[in-house]
């Protein structure tokens, strides 16, 4: 057994030992507040067990291991359904980015420790009503205010802002230069006066995203994490920092085995649905596609273990897996007939077809829409031209609204 396999075995054993208290079954029926409290308790134990900040520097309280161990642990953890969603953004991007870009190391160490133990949560204040895919089109502004800054504006789609203690934010500090050049990057205290968080109820009934309003929110210049006007580069670094994440060829929806089981249980025209050609074709095509994605993911892992850089095809998983999960979920509902109407707001997207279906569009939009991903593949991998951008090179305040 390789070292990584041994690590994976130990991780699985530990996860199994705490799963009765924190896993899927323990979470059933909890309110979101109760679930969050359980999540904080889980993170505390995970930290004590040495499975937090796996690939982060030891000086900040991490384990100092490689992304290989991190991905191995994450993929094992995913299978147990632990209450980690509240911390996924926090530990995925904002906290790693303050480790890299904040000067006050003692302060950073304290933040990292509290984030790893679940005491504090960070959010990422990027998207706005006027800019999601077009991040650099954002309008929230910061003006100098004495020795510091004053922020006004609105952020949107901010995951877990309602539970966050801190956030990282990109704002416009100069509207007279082209849009990418007038941005600056800060961190903010989410409990500061003038910050208002309003949860947004999504189509599936849950509210993990928020609108965040800033009204004359005053911060010191020591909150600044980029040169003035150099915020876009740090924003890009934030989006790129989590390069190695556990992927799921089921698109974070149900495993294909669940569809096969459903097709064996249910009948269509008087015989098992799995004998129906329409159902068989969908099973076969989905299996083939997921086998390809799994193979891509395995190859990426082998390359990392061999000290090589995985190829860009790893970026296909989100694009291909989520949209096919959406269609398969529709088919699963159809197949159940009247039984398919049943809806449980708290059901897991990994196990319940209706939940998987209603939440699938979020997966195709959040973190890079299908269209944005296709553009990225076309431009970055295949070298095709950028889209025509009429706002290119024009000062932000002269772009036609």
């Amino acid at each position: 057994m390789s070292d990584v396999e041994a690590y994976r075995e130990r991780a699985r054993a530990w996860l199994g030992s705490v799963a009765p208290r924190f896993g899927r079954a323990a979470r059933a029926g909890l309110s979101e507040e109760e679930d969050l409290a359980l999540g904080r308790a889980y993170l505390k134990e995970r930290f004590a067990a040495g499975y937090s900040g796996i690939n982060w520097p030891v000086e900040y309280g991490g384990q100092g291991l490689s992304p290989i161990e991190k991905v191995a642990f994450d993929s094992e953890e995913m299978a147990f359904g632990m209450p980690t969603a509240y911390f996924s953004i926090s530990l995925g991007m904002p906290v790693p980015i303050i480790m890299r870009f904040c000067e006050d190391k003692a302060w950073v160490r304290e933040r990292v420790h509290k984030a790893l133990t679940g005491e504090e949560i960070w959010c990422q204040l990027f998207s706005e009503p006027a800019g999601g895919s077009d991040l650099a089109g954002l309008r929230t502004r910061a003006e100098t205010d004495g020795n510091g800054w004053k922020i006004n504006g609105q952020k949107l789609w901010t995951s877990w802002a309602q539970y966050s203690d801190y956030g990282v934010i990109v704002v416009r500090t100069d509207p007279t230069v082209p849009k990418h050049k007038g941005l600056t990057y800060f961190w903010v205290d989410m409990k500061a006066p003038g910050v208002t968080v309003r949860p947004i109820k999504l189509a599936g009934g849950d509210s993990h995203v928020n609108e965040v309003f800033f009204d004359d929110v005053k911060i010191g210049d020591d909150h600044r994490m980029s040169p003035v006007g150099g915020g876009f580069a740090v924003a890009m670094a934030t989006l790129m920092i989590e390069r190695y994440v556990a992927t799921d060829s089921a698109g974070f929806g149900p495993h294909l085995d669940l569809f096969v089981a459903l097709a064996k249980d249910l009948r269509l025209n008087g015989r098992p649905a799995i004998e129906d050609g329409r159902i068989r074709q969908q099973i076969a095509r989905n299996y083939a596609m997921r086998a390809g994605l799994d193979s891509i993911n395995v190859r990426a892992r082998l390359m990392m273990e061999a000290g090589m850089t995985p190829g860009p095809e790893g970026s296909l998983n989100k694009l291909v897996a989520v949209r096919s999960r959406q269609k398969l979920s529709e088919l699963a509902i159809d197949l159940q007939g009247a039984g398919g109407f049943h809806f449980d707001e708290y059901a897991s997207q990994k196990e319940d077809w209706a939940s998987s279906w209603i939440n699938a569009p979020t997966g195709r939009i959040a973190g890079g829409s299908d269209e944005t991903l296709l553009n990225t593949i076309a431009e970055r991998i295949l070298g095709l031209p950028q889209d025509h951008r009429p706002d290119k090179g024009i000062p932000f305040n002269q772009i036609p609204a």
């Binding site: 799995i274 074709q281 099973i283 083939a288 295949l382 095709l384």
Partner: protein, 362 residues
């Protein structure tokens, strides 16, 4: 077997690519479409010289002792260049059947000549719409009946056939010297397809009953993995062709690749090529394992969809020029379709796969 290619395997890929790119041209391939039984002869000469015919056969019988992964790498390049005479896959399937199920005399008779490319093998299971047909009669060691549109049938010296003896399926091997061949006019003539008419043709029984059926599926699965690599190679070439054209062809004042309707279509081809590539190497690495048939079926389905879609969309991206004889994109359209049917069509492999998944989830 790892899915990460080692240095030796990468050398097989780059060397076979270099040789084929130096020899194959669209101009040389186009006339083959209008002649029956004409292949791109230099390919077969190169295949013999380079030992591609021997890649996946044991050294004891004149092979190189490598496996499906390596043969797949050669097939990928054959697919890219469209040069692949059908014999690489057909002879391999026939040789594997003899290797796995024949006696020592049979192995000595055929494997060295197949490995050297001196003889060509065929896998003749298909009968009309039936991928594994059993309409051929086997009686007292003799075959009677017709196998339809056998790939490589115009030139094969030996064939593995499925037949029927009473209620039992038979897997048999027959020398084709005295068999009547009726070459068929097809949309991809260099596949050398011919009806084989057996009339009291002597044949040697390899297997009988349910094991014969299982063996037939396994032989097709081995060939399907090779073909999946060939299909992936073709799709990869089309991806590059589409990308290059979209970068150079201009309309409305910009390269057509700047239009999202075009660039997204090409990005989708990229996704299909990478899924096919990953599925094919995964299947090749599972040879000899319990899940090999399922992996082969999955690879075959993904590669067929990938090559068909790449051919369809690459022509579309080229506009008018794409449908001309000279541009030769129709060579890929034709090859995508012939490879989609050889070694079992999508209906066949979807059924094979789902039957296995159904059993597993029980």
């Amino acid at each position: 077997m790892s899915i990460l290619y080692d240095e030796g395997q990468q050398a097989i890929a780059s060397e076979s690519r270099r040789i084929l790119e130096a020899h194959v041209t669209t101009e040389a391939l186009l006339p083959l479409l209008e002649t029956r039984d004409a292949i791109f002869e230099p390919f077969w000469t190169i295949a013999k010289e380079q030992g591609w015919t021997a890649v996946a056969l044991p050294e004891a019988y004149g092979g190189l002792g490598l496996g499906l992964v390596e043969l797949g790498l050669v097939a990928h390049q054959a697919g890219r260049s469209l040069s692949g005479a059908p014999f690489l896959t057909a002879s391999f399937g026939a040789a594997r059947a003899i290797l796995d199920h024949g006696d020592e005399a049979l192995k000595q008779r055929w494997l060295p000549v197949l490995a050297a490319g001196e003889a060509i093998g065929a896998v003749a299971f298909i009968e009309g719409q039936r991928v594994i047909g059993g309409g051929l009669a086997f009686e007292d060691g003799k075959l009677r009946g017709t196998k339809s549109a056998v790939t490589g049938g115009t030139r094969a010296g030996v064939a593995i056939v499925t037949a029927r003896d009473g209620d039992e399926m038979i897997l048999a091997v027959a020398e084709l010297a005295d068999v009547e061949r009726r070459p068929i006019e097809s949309f991809d003539n260099s596949r050398c397809a011919a009806h084989l008419v057996f009339a009291e043709t002597p044949a040697i029984e390899l297997l009988r009953g349910s094991v014969a059926e299982a063996a037939a599926v396994h032989i097709l699965a081995l060939q399907a993995v090779v073909t999946a690599h060939e299909q992936t190679g073709g799709a990869e070439k089309l991806l590059e062709t589409a990308r290059d054209y979209a970068l150079t062809r201009r309309a409305f004042g910009q390269p057509i690749g700047a239009f999202q309707s075009v660039k997204h279509r090409i990005a989708e081809i990229y996704a299909l090529v990478e899924l096919a590539r990953a599925g094919a190497v995964h299947a090749a690495s599972r040879a000899g394992q319990d899940d090999f048939i399922a992996a082969a079926a999955a690879a075959r389905i993904q590669a067929t969809d990938g090559y068909d879609t790449a051919a369809r969309d690459c022509v579309q991206i080229h506009g008018g020029i794409g449908v001309t004889w000279e541009a030769g994109l129709h060579l890929h359209m034709r090859r995508a379709r012939s490879l989609a049917v050889e070694q079992g069509n999508l209906f066949f492999w979807e059924d094979v796969l789902v039957d296995r998944l159904r059993g597993k989830a029980a």
